[in-house]
């Protein structure tokens, strides 16, 4: 069983509510779920959609074909009718679409009318639609009704009843009238978590002891700030909307200098404003974690669409030479783990660490069985109180064997913590002395760099261990490449190599040997010029045989990607 549902309509029609509710129903029932969304940069109108794939075996990406289509406007019919399979079924309300469709897969259902009759409000059309979809699937009603009770129970019996009646009306109507519907629902497993990447970065940050998040809203990173704000009181985290991204990163640096684990998040344009601050964090050796959620540029670009085109920007941003690490998770559980690693490494080496995502990943949700909390690091590297006091000749930027100096927390002892954005001496005072300068660069960069490289995890290898063809991706393409490998491995010796810890590249020959041995290597990147391929070439000299690029602002779909790979390998 592997079905895809797509809900299309204008912004403001409640697509998100319908999609989120259905996704929750399936994950609660124990299915594997993958959702993704495409929307426009507007609050009302336009055309948006929400796509849900669910199955009794793991799913990690969207397909381009759909089994159930919900059309809340006419555009949805025009845009997505061709994606509907022969055995698929669609619903629409001719009051909304302003026309009837002569196609036996399309069922006209009076969503608005039923909403007013059973829910006493047009707004209940969403609940009717949820009912209709579950009716089409002949899916047990209780799962949704339980969630309804949990979410709306507090609002009282009347609200629950109106929702329930609307749901049941839609359910019964579709179950009876959808003659085309012949979907089979298989038994399910244990309830699963359903999580988006912004939420998992947020919870990863909390787990890592993040106490300070300052940011300026920018799609698609805003979800991290919203999630942390929703937990601010419970976990005692300061979440501040700064006046701009320059302030956001400088505040986070201030809080980090004073002793708190701090983080900021933004997208390309906002990160461009943060760049001087990035360099400040490096010079003052103040740890900071930056979530950079990419969207297509240049400039404002396609504000709500997806792209992986800021990798080289993140690697090279900032004047001067200094170390940094870049992680690019491919799924919510990777994001959780890597957010923790970003905090740990940035604290340990006193450097900036990035978590690179993109709109596709940020607006996707995945099911996760469990998160193993014992795997996460929470070493406290900062020193304070008596321990700090006992260092008689404390110097913030002391020259050491490994380049790392004790970082005290000011105000917890009599020791002074001094630092400067100017080049400074060991104490932290401004200097222009050439010898100190060279020693400081060596400390910050040359001594730490080899140690940092050793921290980087190897790429994830999936598929035939003796593969002829290796598909290489990074970040958000993890799920979609994995899915297309499953499609292609039926008759090919093919494998995927996915990098989520990508800068500096892991210090190992093993993965390079796999690439060198393969008959064909293909890079897959959601950008125009293969930025990761360029990184590999610069760092190792190795060149992929081909690169599949997509830069129309849309993500890859696994069936289409499998076809593109097939076209190359023949």
């Amino acid at each position: 069983m592997d079905y895809t549902i797509k809900i299309g309509g204008e912004a403001g029609q409640g697509i998100q509510t319908i999609g989120d509710s259905l996704a929750k129903v399936f994950s609660r029932f124990g299915y594997y779920v993958f959702t993704h969304q495409e929307y426009e940069s507007r609050i009302r109108g336009g055309h948006n959609f929400y796509q849900i794939r669910f199955s009794d075996s793991p799913v990690t990406a969207s397909k381009s074909v759909i089994d159930i289509l919900v059309c809340l406007d006419n555009e949805s019919i025009k845009a997505h009718k061709k994606e509907l399979t022969l055995y698929g079924a669609a619903i629409y309300d001719s009051k909304l679409t302003k026309e009837s469709i002569d196609d036996n897969r399309f069922l006209n259902i009076p969503l608005l009318e039923m909403a007013e009759r059973f829910g006493k409000n047009k707004i209940m059309a969403n609940t009717v639609a949820i009912g209709a979809v579950l009716g089409m699937l002949n899916f047990p009603q209780e799962v949704f009704l339980n969630i309804l009770q949990e979410n709306l129970g507090k609002k009282g019996g009347e609200v629950v009843k109106l929702n329930k009646d609307s749901f049941v009306a839609g359910y019964e109507f579709a179950k009876k009238e959808c003659l085309q519907c012949a979907f089979t629902i298989t038994p399910s497993g244990k309830p699963k978590m359903l999580m988006g990447v912004n939420e998992s970065i947020g919870i990863g940050a909390i787990t890592s002891g993040c106490k300070f998040y300052s940011a300026y809203p920018m799609t698609p990173s805003t979800g991290i700030m919203l999630f942390l704000a929703s937990k601010a009181e419970e976990f005692e985290i300061i979440v501040e909307q700064a006046e701009d991204e320059i302030a956001a990163i400088n505040m986070a640096i201030g809080a980090s200098f004073a002793g708190m684990r701090s983080m900021t998040g933004t997208s390309g344009g906002g990160f461009a404003l943060m760049v001087e601050g990035l360099s400040l964090a490096a010079m003052t050796e103040t740890p900071i974690v930056i979530a950079l959620a990419q969207r297509p540029g240049p400039a404002t670009g396609l504000p709500t669409k997806t792209e992986q085109a800021d990798l080289l920007f993140a690697i090279h941003a900032g004047h001067g030479e200094f170390p940094r690490v870049i992680f690019a998770p491919g799924s919510p559980d990777q994001a959780f783990y890597l957010t923790n690693k970003a905090f740990d490494i940035s604290q340990k080496y006193q450097i900036p660490a990035f978590i690179l995502t993109d709109q596709y990943l940020s607006d996707s949700q995945w099911t996760i069985d469990e998160i193993d909390l014992t795997k996460y690091k929470h070493t406290q590297y900062r020193i304070r109180g008596e321990k700090l006091e006992s260092i008689k000749d404390y110097k913030r930027h002391l020259f050491t064997e490994n380049g790392i100096s004790f970082f005290g927390i000011q105000g917890t002892s009599k020791r002074l913590i001094i630092t400067d954005s100017d080049e400074h001496d060991e104490e932290g005072h401004i200097t222009e002395d050439p010898d100190i300068r060279v020693k400081m660069v060596n400390k910050r960069l040359h001594k730490k760099w080899p140690l940092i490289k050793r921290e980087m995890g190897l790429p994830y290898f999936y598929g035939d261990s003796d593969a002829d063809i290796v598909i290489v991706g990074w970040g958000s393409t993890y799920g979609v490449i994995k899915d297309s490998i499953d499609i292609l491995s039926r008759n090919k010796k093919i494998a995927m190599m996915h990098f989520s810890e990508l800068y500096p590249l892991p210090d190992s020959e093993d993965y390079m040997n796999i690439l060198k041995k393969a008959k064909k290597t293909i890079g897959v990147e959601n950008n125009a010029r293969g930025q990761f391929a360029r990184l590999i070439k610069t760092e190792t000299g190795f060149e992929f045989d081909s690169i599949i690029n997509r830069y129309d602002g849309r993500p890859f779909y696994s069936d289409l990607l499998a076809r593109s790979i097939n076209d190359i390998i023949g």
Partner: protein
């Protein structure tokens, strides 16, 4: 006892006769009179001649970027609201490059004290116009004289309902020390604009120019009355008032954050025993 020697820092690299020396002197004396030890406060400074200030003292120091003192100071103050946090900036630093942050620090009413060394010129970069340079003044990059109007930071701050607004003069150390102490003792955001003669690059606003004009605010004046503060702030020209111009005792940003009431953020324990329990609870919401 704390004495001047406790604050002995590096040798200043300012020009002989610079107004910054008197500001440094007034500040050290204010600290001694308030019994504030070096480890009990942090100076966040920007880039410029003023930005070098903390190196010539002994204290916790974050000498950050040009224009960005206030965000860094805000972050430090939020992480540790028991720490006295002082931002030191130049007029270019704070009213030019970092102008946006000033507006928002005032709105937040974060408990940071901002001392602006206002020499009405860019000192470190050798004499370009600043937002507070007087209209018509000639500088190397102003062949037609300064074309833009002069910013009055005191009026701006009163207009924004800043919780403490004052002006000092580097030529009157005793008076300056007094308002520095008032600023430090004020719990919300405090702006102290300090008229600082630049003996090398500002040949208009000299010691004499200021001495002929400044007068201390005395007598009946009530700084808690916003309208008269506004009126007072507009005085600039033949007579320039120095002293505390406006006070507004509204709640600070930190006071509005419930979990900072008992102890500062840096004393919140990380990774306590029930920490993983609470994380598990948060994760459960995703089922």
């Amino acid at each position: 006892m704390i004495s001047l020697a406790d604050y002995q820092g590096k040798m200043p690299a300012w020009c002989p006769g610079c107004g910054n020396y008197s500001i440094l002197r007034a500040f050290k004396e204010a600290l001694i009179e308030l019994y504030i030890a070096p480890h009990e406060f942090t100076i966040v400074s920007g880039i410029g001649q003023a930005g070098k200030f903390p190196h010539y003292l002994r204290c916790n120091t974050f000498n950050g970027l040009h224009g960005r003192t206030l965000p860094v100071a805000t972050g430090i103050r939020l992480a540790n609201n028991k720490m006295l946090v002082i931002a030191v900036a130049g007029d270019g630093d704070c009213y030019g490059e970092g102008g946006n942050h000033l507006i928002h620090a005032i709105r937040r009413n974060i408990g940071v004290k901002l001392f602006v060394h206002n020499n009405q010129i860019y000192g470190l970069t050798k004499g370009q116009v600043s937002p507070t340079s007087m209209e018509g003044m000639f500088t190397k990059n102003q062949p037609f004289g300064v074309l833009s109007g002069q910013l009055n930071p005191v009026t701006l701050a009163v207009a924004l309902d800043c919780s403490f607004v004052a002006r000092g003069f580097a030529g009157d150390i005793n008076h300056l020390k007094g308002i520095m102490k008032e600023a430090i003792n004020h719990k919300g955001f405090a702006l102290l604009d300090i008229l600082q003669p630049c003996v090398t690059f500002n040949k208009v606003n000299t010691y004499d120019w200021y001495r002929q004009r400044v007068y201390p605010i005395e007598g009946e004046y009530n700084p808690e009355d916003r309208l008269s503060a506004f009126k007072k702030s507009l005085e600039w020209g033949d007579r320039i008032p120095i002293g505390v111009i406006y006070i507004n005792r509204r709640q600070t940003f930190e006071e509005r954050i419930p979990f900072l009431k008992d102890r500062p953020l840096i004393d919140h324990e990380l990774f306590t025993d029930n920490w993983s329990e609470s994380i598990k609870k948060a994760l459960d919401e995703f089922f």
